[in-house]
Point group: C2
Chain length 355, copies 2
């Protein structure tokens, strides 16, 4: 039985992506070759990466606006290092909204001078903090648009001349935004882009070339741009699945369609969390709640095993909270169908009924 | 028609690996989940990476000898940076045997003090140079065991107290060696390990913790070891295909079986190159020739289009030389069957016949 996969990432992708990826592993496009044995210098792969780059920008409405697109190795955590290497000369600001923002800060501190412009550490990151510090004279301001672990999400972004660098690993392509307000967007692929193993980086080229530091070539955005993401062998298969996923996204109607679906899913689940007396959201401020990751607890932990049994019986998978916080987390990325959220809400109601 | 894939990498893998990888994308192990949507923290994936780590060591006969195994992001080119970050305190030596050795040196020079202990630059790297410099007082000596672009291969290695760091991207698991003579072995997966997107690093733990430099956490071998290659989300699918490939390798009889097969393939092809008057090896010293990548030219380039036509008609793929050197290159990694080499030799004979 196909599971309802609420896992936080690597996460569910559209069924069509799985089917096409599997076919390409047996024979890519009737070439007599598996996608896994295709050279990254071949015409076949160059077409794949070019189409993926184009679609990545087009779907965000960022074409012809001075952005470059990279599909890199290494996961978003590598960007925690590459960003300060490439952009941090004097001082950068970081908004401390959760575990991943904290990890980004930790790496940046090893490289240069950063300040914390705001933090929600005092309440275990269960809200989006205000910016308390001037944003003047910063090389960039680093934000995490969605906090996967604690289930909070930024709904608005600072209006400032300071370049905005945003980790969108868990909510890119999920909602309508003016993406051109950002100067650098990055996202580990394994949620709304594709599969683990590549990271999408979209950067305004005018941001580059301003630091005096000597940057390792493999971590220098300009070198990677000049080599079209092929300074070394790229993660071919992860990029191919990203293309499949972005094509699926476009066919569904792009970001507007995703936003409609994602709002509906989130509304359904949060309504149940708020109205069902057995459950409680761990993000009290409704306007700070994530549309991607809903975190909640069972008020009476004695019911946990009954809830686990109901989940198992209904094929509901991956709703355990992050190991650092416990509780539950239902991740509702683009590919998760509404029917999966309905299945989850059904067992929450059922638990209330049987008590 | 299935191609005879002589591509240099990403390259051919065993048919069984393609089949099992495709199955796992549809449904991993009857779990109701695709391998692409499985959490890296799940029991399923932890089993995969642990088995892969174990097999990686076992096949090299390196178990219980103080080595740690990592499956990292980023391709071998990232190791060009991570190695000096983690190991270079005072001075390191590099043997300059080709394009990739050169790239490794270029990155290391940005980080610390290195010396070139020998080089074959004077003859376009068509031989393995002697070591001309003392190896005393080096933090490590960096070697490239097989030079994919020019088709040379080190058959013996220096006997020295200096730790040996070796890039085995294109010949790991292909031949019998005392692998315990090396202190750090690394290999981009996309040749004899698995698919592009992960890099195998096998390191003696006693080598670590000796530099005073502040290392980015995501590039600190000790941090990565402590987190069992899961400091961040690992490239799940690339690691899974590596496991499939290593299991195939073991079933075939491990490295001894590979060496037998690879010797036979190499002998067959080099015999033809040397005896066929139309062709010439680009590595004159036979004992320096690579068993993995045979590089050669057509003496009369006017025959190139005839040869291309014969290749196409026989389903021979990927024998164009590296864009930096031209000519031909037939890569004969572990998964390439003898029948493919026979097919290539057949068209070489045919070209001689029709002239």
């Amino acid at each position: 039985m196909k599971k309802h996969n609420f896992g936080a990432g690597p996460c569910i992708l559209p069924e069509e992506v799985f089917q096409k990826a599997a076919e390409a592993i047996i024979d890519y496009n009737n070439s007599g070759l598996s996608i896994l044995e295709v050279s990254h210098r071949s015409e076949a792969f160059v077409e794949i990466i070019e189409e993926a780059r184009d679609l990545a920008l087009e779907l965000l409405n960022l074409k012809d606006k001075g952005y470059q697109v990279l599909f890199l190795h290494g996961g978003a955590s590598f960007q925690f290092v590459m960003i300060p290497y490439n952009l941090l000369e004097t001082k950068a600001g970081y908004l401390h909204t959760g575990r991943w923002a904290g990890k980004a800060m930790k790496e940046a501190k090893k490289i240069g001078n950063i300040i914390e412009v705001g933090a929600s550490t005092n309440k275990n990151f269960n809200y989006i903090p205000l910016i308390e510090t001037s944003l003047e004279n910063l090389d960039y301001l680093h934000l995490t648009s969605n906090n996967t672990v604690v289930g909070t999400q930024m709904k608005t972004f600072p209006i400032t001349k300071t370049p905005l660098v945003v980790d969108m690993s868990s909510d890119i392509y999920s909602r309508i935004l003016d993406y051109s307000q950002f100067d650098l967007i990055y996202a580990g692929a394994q949620k709304n882009v594709g599969t683990a193993g590549t990271t999408l980086v979209i950067v305004k080229e005018e941001l580059l070339g301003k630091v005096s530091r000597s940057i390792p070539l493999i971590m220098d955005y300009q070198v990677l741009i000049n080599n079209k993401s092929m300074y070394n062998t790229p993660p071919v298969f992860s990029i191919y699945t990203s293309l499949l996923n972005l094509k699926w996204l476009k066919k569904q109607g792009g970001i507007p369609a995703m936003q409609r679906m994602n709002s509906e899913k989130a509304k359904l689940l949060y309504n149940e969390i708020d109205s069902n007396p057995l459950f409680e959201s761990t993000v009290p401020l409704k306007e700070h709640r994530s549309m991607m990751n809903a975190t909640f607890i069972l008020k009476d932990s004695a019911l946990a095993s009954k809830f686990a049994k109901l989940s198992l019986d209904s094929g509901i998978h991956g709703i355990t909270g992050h190991r650092s916080v416990g509780g539950y987390r239902a991740s509702m990325y683009n590919a998760l169908p509404l029917s999966s959220v309905k299945a989850l809400v059904d067992i929450m109601k059922e638990l209330e009924r049987i008590g």
